[in-house]
């Protein structure tokens, strides 16, 4: 037979996928009517893409993720009409999730020896990260300055503390050695400069943020303002990596959000006391009055984030074996099913009825649930999965929205259905076309290298 009859395979380079990431950084919000509000947040699919690419490309994805970081720091928004706006940018929490997803899928082929990278003081300094996160979530608006009608600048104290803790914990000699070995080689000079540039950008973005409304609805942003979406992501990562017991994470979550209420309550009580002149009795009366009128701390409890955090933990437990082994057969079906359904019930029945939509984080959680369904039950999962999620949402609406104060948006189902199917579809593909961790590392990077 003639040799030219054979089929030639070709493989796209890592960077050809970056164009797709740029496309995924767009989000469109379109309010067709008071009820029908469509939002296409394509960045939700970025963790899916990085996980998929990591399973295929392995360690080669490092540069890709670095470049992704550069996009994360900047954001652009344009309000074309009152009902239509377009934005470009990747939220910080999506980037964190994308990085860790990629890491999970590369891990069997590449191990980063973290203990060598940190000083001994890291053992106690790491507990400060919890405080840093607390501040990043709840005190994000405390240091915000509006310099003009179109420009504001802010510093998130939580992120500053995070940088300080990391700076004090890293063994800089080991880190610089690793950088020199990996990036300061002559053939990697450009890559090295770019990587360092991205790291500097990320640090700057964490240290301060600004937003500038340029003109005609166009706005430009730099840096990370808040860590709102980060709590469910961290809860998920802790649960899925089995770093902490999931029950402990749930308790920590409750404590985390309750502490904010407690701190606010105490702060207000002291404020009320100090305003009540010097007489203790007057101060106590002021506190009683505040409690009686219901104005003290009642609206501070972040119920939505707590529910989303709990859902994230339950989903993390459900998918943990797959996260560890990248092998769908390692999932214990009954346990996975139980935690999956629990997660969906908590998400749809636990959300307060004043929320008009489940938000980007909620959509990501829906996506995660759909991914698990597609992964395990394949074709049945991608047919019944999105339908099940929609039905549960609808049921949640019917159960929860029966009074005049309910502003639930049944058309959120359009967004939910779209995201659920896409994630479920890729779950199915992960099952069918999985790359076994035993596939050799194409980059030639030795294992156990820091």
């Amino acid at each position: 037979m003639q040799s030219d009859l054979s089929i030639k395979q070709s493989h796209a380079s890592t960077w050809s996928w970056f164009a797709l990431v740029l496309l995924l950084a767009f989000a469109i919000f379109w309010a067709l009517s008071d009820l029908l509000r469509l939002r296409l947040e394509l960045y939700l699919f970025i963790p899916l893409l990085t996980g998929w690419l990591a399973s295929r490309l392995g360690f080669q994805l490092v540069s890709f993720l670095s470049a992704l970081g550069a996009i994360t720091v900047f954001s652009l928004g344009e309000r074309l009409f009152p009902a239509l706006s377009i934005s470009f940018g990747i939220p910080f929490w999506i980037y964190v999730l994308a990085m860790f997803t990629a890491l999970a899928f590369v891990r069997p082929r590449w191990h980063l020896s973290l203990p060598q990278l940190f000083e001994a003081r890291w053992q106690w300094l790491r507990w400060l990260l919890l405080i840093a996160l607390w501040m990043a979530v709840f005190k994000d608006l405390d240091l915000l300055w509006k310099l003009s009608n179109t420009f504001r600048i802010g510093v998130n104290p939580g992120f500053v503390l995070l940088i300080l803790v990391l700076a004090a914990s890293i063994k800089w000699s080991v880190f610089s050695q690793w950088l020199r070995r990996e990036y300061w080689r002559r053939d990697h000079a450009l890559q090295g400069v770019l990587t360092m540039g991205v790291i500097v950008l990320l640090v700057l973005g964490l240290l301060f943020n600004f937003r500038w409304n340029v003109f005609a609805g166009l706005s430009f942003g730099f840096g990370f303002k808040s860590a709102d979406g980060l709590v469910p992501v961290i809860a998920f990562l802790l649960a899925v990596s089995a770093i902490l017991d999931w029950r402990l994470i749930l308790m920590l979550l409750v404590g985390f959000f309750a502490s904010e209420v407690a701190v606010s309550w105490l702060g207000e009580m002291f404020a009320a006391l100090s305003n009540g002149e010097t007489d203790a009795a007057d101060g106590a009366a002021a506190v009683r009055e505040a409690i009686g009128s219901g104005s003290l701390s009642r609206t501070y409890f972040n119920w939505v984030d707590l529910i989303q955090g709990i859902t994230a933990v339950l989903l993390g437990v459900a998918i943990a074996p797959f996260w560890r082994d990248q092998d769908h057969s390692s999932l214990r079906i009954n346990r996975t099913r139980l935690f999956l359904i629990l997660a969906l019930v908590v998400l749809f029945f636990g959300m307060p009825n004043y929320t008009q939509s489940i938000g980007s984080t909620g959509l990501m959680l829906v996506g995660c649930a759909a991914y698990i369904m597609g992964l395990i039950w394949q074709v049945r999962g991608i047919i019944a999965g999105p339908l099940l999620i929609q039905m549960l949402y609808l049921l949640g609406q019917i159960v929860g929205c029966i009074d005049d104060s309910c502003h639930a948006n049944a058309y959120e189902l359009v967004n939910i259905a779209f995201v659920a199917f896409v994630f479920g579809f890729f779950g199915l593909l992960s099952n069918r076309y999985q790359v076994h961790p035993s596939v050799p590392n194409e980059s030639g990077v030795k294992e156990d290298e820091p």
């Binding site: 037979m1 003639q2 009859l5 054979s6 089929i7 395979q9 070709s10 796209a12 996928w17 797709l20 009820l35 029908l36 998929w52 079906i333 099913r337 359904i341 369904m373 395990i376 039950w377 074709v379 049945r380 999962g381 991608i382 047919i383 019944a384 999965g385 999105p386 339908l387 099940l388 929609q390 039905m391 549960l392 609808l394 049921l395 609406q397 019917i398 159960v399 929205c401 029966i402 309910c406 639930a408 948006n409 049944a410 058309y411 959120e412 189902l413 359009v414 967004n415 939910i416 259905a417 779209f418 995201v419 199917f421 896409v422 579809f425 890729f426 199915l428 593909l429 069918r432 076309y433």
Partner: protein, 531 residues
């Protein structure tokens, strides 16, 4: 090595059906483009003559409009781009497009549910009322059924839950239709046409759902690393002309410009539009100025005429004779050997499967002989010895009617210079001699052994395999008997590979031919593809 290609065959069949259906419309694409261009030119001429151009402030806008219209006019040719994309090994693109198509489909479902939910949430103002309970129970039942159908490992539970879902869906759809019908009945201006329109909408909805599901399933398969051309068929010389000819449903023996000089080419090309036009006439989509009776007669006539023309196109294409002494085609031939007992290796299909027979007719899948002309004649002339005493040359390989004393010499000479040999398995003396020839001349690595489809159910396949193994001194796979129906034996990267299938359908043989001519590896053939 034994590989079950049932799933692959299923996919090949689906792709074949899609290609056949597309071929009925594709021929019109060029005409659509020309008509569009003529319309644009007409508009432009009228516009310029009207003198309005000078009144418009923004001439750039008009130019932009014309350029956009011209680009859009070429839209019907987009199917060429689509086919080109389908042939690239871009499995990620298939994954993304599959996710998008399904996502949009489910978003539409979400919109319908949302419309329902929005009304219900507004209407429900009392907790624990009858309506509230009713809805809670119905949706709760659907939730339970979905969980059961999706996640139960028991087949019986899944079946039960599946039926429950079907009943709820049917009741829901029925209820919706009932409500719509009621509103139409209350409207005094409603006519029977409105009800027909409603029924057509439901049918259209079902078709759209089917198309979306089919499209997503295809993309799941295309997301894998399996060679695309194994699924959709190859185009060896990827020129514009060959691509167009493939899409128009012409057999690969006519994928060259010289084919336009043959009457068979034009007959093949015109047969499909004739059938298509007949269908449009019957659907009353073309107004020819006659009454309904004449229109129906003309429509039926066009459909029958199209089929007759296609049949005669095959007859015309079969009129060319192979002359082994004159090598008019410089390409090495593809030699087709078989027992004259089953001269064309007929594919089995039950008589009641009229749709299947129809597709076989239009996609050249009635027998292996036809299928080779459609699939592999592009690599070189497919030649064979004609059956002695045959008066009507069948559509298939080019025949040469040799004298009895010459046939072995002609087969030997042709086999030596052939790029590939396709042989119908058997155990007749003639076929046994051919086996020995292949072994003696060391031609087995370029040989594709096809097990006759007609004998697939009996033990004839196994005895033919045993005869082949004996004549060529090859080793017989141990568990060949328990491996389903034998389809083909070919050489892959892992050595002799026996292809089997649960059903000896047409597509399994087509897949075997493609695998042989595209030199597909055993791993690619064995890639799981169950949907």
């Amino acid at each position: 090595m034994i590989i079950d290609i049932s799933a692959l065959a299923k996919m090949v069949r689906r792709m074949d059906v899609s290609a056949t259906l597309k071929s009925f419309v594709v021929v019109f694409a060029v005409m659509f483009v020309l008509a569009n261009l003529v319309n644009i030119m007409n508009f432009l001429m009228n516009f310029l003559q009207s003198g309005l151009f000078g009144d418009i402030d923004s001439g750039g806008f008009v130019i932009a409009w014309v350029v956009t219209a011209i680009i859009a006019a070429f839209g019907p040719l987009a199917f060429i781009v689509w086919d080109w994309m389908a042939r690239q090994p871009w499995h990620h693109l298939a994954a993304i497009s599959g996710a998008l198509i399904g996502g949009i489909g489910f978003a539409a479902v979400g919109f319908c549910l949302g419309a329902f939910g929005a009304n219900v949430v507004v209407e429900l103002d009392t907790v624990f009322s009858f309506d509230w309970f009713f809805l809670f129970v119905v949706i709760g039942l659907v939730v339970v059924a979905l969980i059961g159908w999706m996640s139960s490992e028991s087949q019986q539970v899944r079946r039960f839950m599946g039926w429950e879902l079907i009943v709820v869906a049917a009741l829901g759809l029925g209820g919706f239709l009932y409500v719509v019908s009621l509103s139409k009945m209350e409207d005094p201006e409603s006519a029977w046409v409105d009800y027909v329109g409603l029924a057509a909408t439901v049918i259209l909805l079902v078709v759209v759902v089917w198309l979306v599901a089919r499209s997503v399933r295809h993309r799941i398969v295309l997301s894998g690393d399996r060679p695309r051309e194994l699924l959709v068929g190859s185009i060896r010389h990827k020129r514009f002309w060959a691509r167009l000819a493939f899409l128009a449903g012409l057999p690969s023996s006519l994928w060259h410009a010289r084919a336009m000089l043959t009457p068979a080419f034009w007959a093949f090309l015109l047969a499909r539009p004739l059938v298509y036009a007949g269908v449009l006439l019957l659907l009353d989509r073309i107004d020819i100025g006659f009454n309904i009776g004449v229109t129906i007669v003309l429509g039926m006539g066009a459909i029958v005429g199209g089929h007759v023309l296609f049949y005669y196109a095959k007859r015309m294409a079969a009129s060319y004779i192979w002359n082994p002494s004159q090598q008019s085609d410089p390409r090495p031939p593809i030699l087709f050997l078989r027992s004259f007992e089953d001269d064309q290796l007929r594919f089995k299909r039950p008589g009641w499967d009229l749709v299947g027979h129809w597709f076989d007719l239009w996609s050249f899948r009635r027998n292996a002989d036809e299928a080779m002309i459609d699939e592999i004649a592009q690599y070189g002339p497919v030649v064979a010895l004609g059956m002695p005493g045959e008066t009507r040359i069948p559509f298939g390989a080019l025949r040469y009617y040799s004298k009895h004393e010459d046939w072995q010499r002609i087969v030997t000479d042709t086999a030596k210079r052939a790029q590939a040999i396709v042989i119908g398995a058997g155990s007749t003396p003639g076929v046994m001699w051919e086996y020995e020839l292949l072994a003696r001349e060391q031609l087995l690595d370029r040989t594709l052994l096809l097990f006759p489809p007609a004998a697939a159910d009996s033990g004839a396949g196994i005895s033919a395999l045993a005869a082949f193994a004996e004549a060529t001194q090859s080793e017989l796979p141990h568990d060949a008997q328990e491996s389903g129906h034998l389809i083909a034996l070919l050489a892959t990267d892992t050595g002799p590979t026996l292809l089997t299938a649960q059903k000896p359908g047409t597509a399994a043989y087509v897949a075997a031919m493609r695998a042989h001519f595209q030199q597909v590896t055993a791993a690619q053939l064995a890639d799981p593809l169950v949907l």
